[in-house]
Every structure is written in structure tokens, then in C-alpha cells.
């Protein structure tokens, strides 16, 4: 039972991660770059974790770099490729609905004299592959497209975009933070990033995957760790926990995805049926199994979050009316959908059907009450 519906931000720690973390705190504390016995033991554990992650992602172990977060990995993917391909061009092509991590890296690139082309999306939040590829000009250093959108769950046409990028000899970076551990990874990318806390691993571990043959160099000062790709010693216990939980997730993934797809379908159908004037967001078919978002007309995002919290449900919101932001979500703006009254529900292994049913039972009353308070009933 769980009313925690924000797995897309952070998923509760997988039991396997907890067990691995406890064991690793005893066994994996030394520096893996030292040659004495404790260092060799740490190196062996780190190599094992890297191999496990590589197997789960279907890549070679030497293509995997451990980073302190998905954000750091994303910044490195963008800036490292831009640095290595400076002679080819200084243009980035990104979708309008990328995670703020990617957009922030692009702004950083632009501040250093680079240029970023932003490609729009349709009302479901999906890029049009032809429109995206039209923007990939010969002076493009890197194209960036998420595997799935973090706010509305729409899967992006990565394979088609990747094939077109390959023809144009432009590398494609895929931010797969919402997909790893949840759905099959798309083909056609050259760089990929992920974040352990989104699949049930601990916070503090991000993944950067750079496929062999991709030009990339660290945009940071030289450092000996992680093959020179990521500065600083690695948090080995966290990495071991992340790798163990990813392996466990991969075992459970198919069955869990089917179960969560059904729960999300139930939410998609029932919210619209029970609550008037709700806009259900994202592609109903091509979507993540565990994530659903909707916007309620005439309701403030923060108010609905607070009311749901009081009823025992933790959700996130892309509305600017939520206290952390003055402007609405760039994802919802780019889609041209209602930005206020926004609710994102993202499920995980501890959520049961009964939790979803209780959510569906309390939501209509909450929305009705907020509309009445705002004097917006019957409009």
C-alpha cells in the first residue's frame, strides 16, 4: 500500500538496493584506483557493478560511466560532445520538452558562443521526426531527444530520429531517465543518460553511456577517475546498490509494466469520467507504463497538491501556481495545453489497485471543493 505517487521524481528504494548498500558499506569503502588489497577488492566490486549495468542496458562495460546524478550525466553528455565536435559545428538541436537539465546545458553552451535550435512538439508532447531532422543541419554538434517525457509520459520517436541523425553523421544523445528500468530502450542513440533513483536505486548515482566511436571529451579539468570521464572518486556503495536494483528491476520489469499500464489506464479513463473539465495529457498509447498527467480547469496546482497530500497522496505538478516556480512548466507550454491545475501521478512497485481506487474516490470532491472556493463552479 502506498499513496506515494511521485516515482518519476524518486522511487522508493528497492529492497535489493537496501541489502546491497548495507553489504557494500562493509566491503566496498576503499578507493578502487589504489593497488593494495582493499583497493583491488573495491575495483573488483566496481567492475562487477559496471558489467551488471552494461548488461541491463545492452552496452559494453567500458561505455558506462558512473556520475553523481542524472543531472551531472546530462550536462556531461551535452557539453562533452559539443567540446569534442567543436570543429564540425557549434549547434545543438533539442526538443522543446527536454528535461531542464538538458535545456540548462544548452543555455550554458549558448553562453559560450554556441547556438541551440529548439524543436516544437504536438499537443501530446511528441516531436515530429521529420521536423526534428529538418533542424539537424550540417553544423550540428549534437542532437538531443529524451526517450520519454518526464511530465506527461509520451514516448518519443527515438529510433526514427536516430536513423536520420546517423545518415547526417550527427550523434544523438537520449535522456533515458524515465525509461531505464521501466521500458525497453530505443535503438539509434550514441549517448544515453539515466538516474538510479528513478528505478529504485539510491540518489547519488547517474549513468552516462557513450557508445564506442562517439567523439566525446570531458569538458572539465583532467582527473584520473572513471577513465577520465567523470571527476572525483566514485561512491562505490551507492553504485553497488544502484546496479543491484537495476538488475532486480530488469527481472521484474515486464510483469510490473503490464500491471502499472492497467492502473494508469484506469486513472486515464476514470478521472475524465468522474471529474468535469479535466484535460488528460500525453499520448494515450505511446507512453510510459507508470506515469499519467492531467490538468483540472480553474484549479491552482499548488492547492490540489496540498489537498491531495492531506488525503494521503503525494503527487507532483507542472503548474506555476505550485510554490517552487513562477513560470509554468515549459513542457505543458510547448504542448499548448492547460498549465494550471496540473497533476502528475507516477506509480511504482508498492502501489496497489486499492491505492488507485482510493485516489479516484477522493479526487472529484477535492477538485469540486477547490472550484467552489475559487468561485469557479459551473463556468
Amino acid at each position: 500500500m502506498s499513496g506515494y505517487f511521485d516515482a518519476a521524481t524518486a522511487t522508493p528504494l528497492h529492497p535489493t538496493a537496501r541489502a546491497a548498500l548495507q553489504a557494500a558499506l562493509d566491503d566496498g569503502w576503499a578507493d578502487p584506483d589504489r593497488i593494495y588489497r582493499e583497493g583491488r577488492r573495491a575495483r573488483q566490486l566496481l567492475d562487477g557493478a559496471r558489467a551488471a549495468v552494461a548488461t541491463a542496458l545492452g552496452v559494453a562495460a567500458e561505455e558506462v560511466t558512473f556520475c553523481p546524478s542524472g543531472t551531472t550525466a546530462g550536462h556531461l553528455a551535452v557539453l562533452g560532445t559539443a567540446a569534442a565536435r567543436r570543429r564540425t559545428g557549434n549547434r545543438l538541436v533539442v526538443s522543446a520538452v527536454e528535461h531542464s537539465t538538458v535545456l540548462a546545458a544548452a543555455r550554458h553552451h549558448d553562453n559560450g558562443g554556441g547556438v541551440t535550435t529548439i524543436v516544437g512538439v504536438d499537443r501530446n508532447g511528441s516531436v515530429d521526426p521529420a521536423a526534428f531532422l529538418d533542424a539537424v543541419s550540417p553544423d550540428t554538434a549534437l542532437a538531443v531527444l529524451q526517450s520519454a517525457n518526464h511530465e506527461v509520459g509520451t514516448l518519443q520517436p527515438v529510433a526514427q530520429v536516430g536513423a536520420g541523425c546517423k545518415e547526417r553523421e550527427v550523434p544523438l544523445f537520449v535522456d533515458a531517465a524515465q525509461s531505464v528500468g521501466h521500458v525497453d530502450l530505443p535503438d539509434g542513440w550514441d549517448l544515453l543518460t539515466a538516474s538510479a533513483r528513478k528505478w529504485g536505486g539510491p540518489a547519488g548515482v547517474g549513468l552516462l553511456v557513450v557508445r564506442r566511436g562517439t567523439r566525446w571529451r570531458s569538458p572539465w579539468p583532467e582527473d584520473e577517475h572513471e577513465g577520465g570521464r567523470m571527476a572525483g572518486v566514485v561512491p562505490l556503495p551507492l553504485i553497488l546498490a544502484a546496479a543491484a536494483s537495476l538488475q532486480a528491476r530488469e527481472q521484474e520489469r515486464q510483469g510490473e509494466a503490464a500491471r502499472l499500464t492497467d492502473l494508469v489506464d484506469r486513472i486515464r479513463t476514470e478521472v475524465v469520467r468522474r471529474v468535469p473539465d479535466v484535460e488528460m495529457l500525453g499520448d494515450p498509447e505511446r507512453r510510459l507504463p507508470h506515469l499519467v498527467a492531467f490538468s483540472c480547469l480553474y484549479v491552482a496546482g499548488e492547492a490540489i497538491q496540498v489537498a491531495l497530500d492531506r488525503a494521503g497522496f503525494s503527487v507532483s505538478s507542472g503548474s506555476s501556481c505550485s510554490s517552487s516556480a513562477l513560470t509554468p512548466s515549459h513542457v505543458l507550454e510547448a504542448m499548448g495545453v492547460l498549465t494550471h491545475g496540473n497533476v502528475r501521478v507516477s506509480l511504482h512497485g508498492e502501489v496497489e489497485q486499492a491505492d488507485v481506487e482510493r485516489f479516484l474516490d477522493v479526487l472529484p470532491g477535492i477538485v469540486e471543493e477547490l472550484r467552489r472556493t475559487a468561485g469557479a463552479q459551473g463556468l
Binding site: D277, S319, S320, C321, E333, L338, T339, G341, A376, L379
Partner: protein, 78 residues
């Protein structure tokens, strides 16, 4: 865009979703076929006014900067 609005709503200083609620409350004050203007400075209005028009089947005519605020023009269609 040159058509003068039949009614102007001043929602400057009001945060989302209040400007859209103001619009919904006052749209019936103009005759069908006329334009109503919503003056707002909340950034969410830029996305929410066109979205409201789509959901309520009114015509979003356009927007123009008006000092620090934006004037959103909506034609009542029913």
C-alpha cells in the same frame, strides 16, 4: 486584431488560475461574435487562455504586449 474589444477585463496582478476564471465569468457579457480582452501579467495566461478557448470552443484571436502585461483577445462564438 484591429477590432476593438467589446469588453476589457483587468486581471493584472492576479495569479493563475484567476485570470482564466475571470475570463470564463465575463465572456457572456459580450454578444456572440464580439471580442473580449483579458489583460493579465501572469505568465501562465499565455498558455492557459488559448487552452481555455480550445476547451470551451471559443476563438483565440491573438495577444499583444500592453506595457508589462499582455492583452489576450478572445471572440465569443456561442
Amino acid at each position: 486584431m484591429s477590432e476593438a474589444p467589446a469588453h476589457v477585463i483587468d486581471a493584472v496582478g492576479r495569479r493563475c488560475p484567476l485570470p482564466v476564471i475571470d475570463l470564463a465569468k465575463q465572456i457572456s457579457e459580450v454578444p456572440v461574435g464580439s471580442v473580449i480582452e483579458l489583460l493579465a501579467d501572469d505568465p501562465a495566461a499565455a498558455a492557459d487562455v488559448p487552452a481555455w478557448c480550445r476547451m470551451r470552443d471559443h476563438e483565440f484571436v491573438g495577444e499583444k504586449a500592453r506595457g508589462d502585461a499582455t492583452a489576450y483577445l478572445v471572440r465569443r462564438t456561442h
